[in-house]
């Protein structure tokens, strides 16, 4: 069953925390991965691959470039779950 937006956000925050050590409470929808959370491109890709596995979705390379904020990622994953 598809997860809600809040559930995806919570799961994504855990992945961000595992990769970078950033507190899960800091991972909010309006935060930019690079500017606010200081996540570099390699960590971003690690989070993306782990998110694919966790949420059972495909996030193509060309789509990763559009995921500027946590909200962008949550929205993409939520809709990709079908």
């Amino acid at each position: 069953m598809a997860l809600s937006q809040d559930e995806v956000l919570a799961g994504l925050a855990e992945l961000v925390n595992e990769e970078t050590g950033i507190d899960v409470d800091s991972v909010k929808l309006d935060k930019s991965f690079s500017n606010d959370l200081d996540i570099d491109s390699i960590s971003m890709m690690t989070i993306v691959v782990n998110a694919e596995e966790k949420f059972g979705v495909k996030i193509p390379d060309e789509e990763v470039k559009n995921l500027m904020t946590v909200g962008d990622a949550v929205n993409f994953i939520t809709s990709a779950q079908g």
């Binding site: 390699i42 890709m45 690690t46 993306v48 691959v49 390379d61």
Partner: protein
Amino acid sequence: MTEPQLKQFESVPFSRIYSLGAARGNLVVTNDEVAGPIDSSDEWIRQRTGIITRRRADANQSLMDMAVSASRQAISRAGIEPSEIGAVIFSTISHPYQTPSAATQLTELIGASPAPAFDISAACAGYCYGIAQADSLVRSGVAKFVLVVGAERLSDFIDPTDRSISFLLGDGAGAAIVGPSDYPGIAKTVWGSDGAHWSSVSMTASLLELRDGSASWPTLRQDGQTVFRWAVWEMAKVAQQALDAAGVRADQLSALVTHQANIRIIDEMVKQLKLPDTVAVARDIVYTGNTSAASVPLAMDQLLVDGVVKSGGLALQIGFGAGLAFAAQVVVLP
């Protein structure tokens, strides 16, 4: 009248790597020296790549100088004469002539003429491609000893303002002598290519565009995110396939020697392969940088020179890069 029966080469059962040779650029280039044009810092580069220094050739040190030096060391360590070499395989992407090959010049310079000699272009996978070919040439009986060289002078093809790859790159040469063996010393190679990602690591322009004035001197570029995903998650699968093809478990390895592209690729691959702590992991990139075709033999040689691993142990070596191209095999350490 009877039909003539052709004579074919008679095969031998096994091959192994007899020795390695190594040569690095004479210059030790610090992060501070490359950080300015990319608006970066020593700390940023260390954190994101693991590199503390990269070795680069000085003005008087050519690609061929490094290749000759590494080759002579490998020949000497193998205890053979140059005249016994039956083929020379030279992997490079930075030989500055379209033709003739670097291999024929090297072969002449080391006294191995008239051995057949040719270049291969498989970028960072090139050395492992070369070992695969050398293994085939030796076991098929075509050549008794094969010299495999991976050599690069990548500093000729960098743009100091490029943030994608230039600051990672170094210069060096690694060489190996492959020959017949009483035991299996080079396991089945798992290799392949993925031309769908042809442009993920490439030159900024072709020589034709340079000639026509529509482009300046071509330099290397990469799409870091795409390459990182492929290098870790796809190559971890290839590494596991190479272990399976060899009939070896990860905990039976002495060493993992990956292409030295970025410390984070190496660390993530270790995680994906669930390697136990008993396996030494080559991290030559920290002081040598990314030397493309030279990186695997340089990194393996360093483990041996430092006494981290012993001759006779098993190492999984894997090269991957532009093409995209990849090759992996388990070998017995020389």
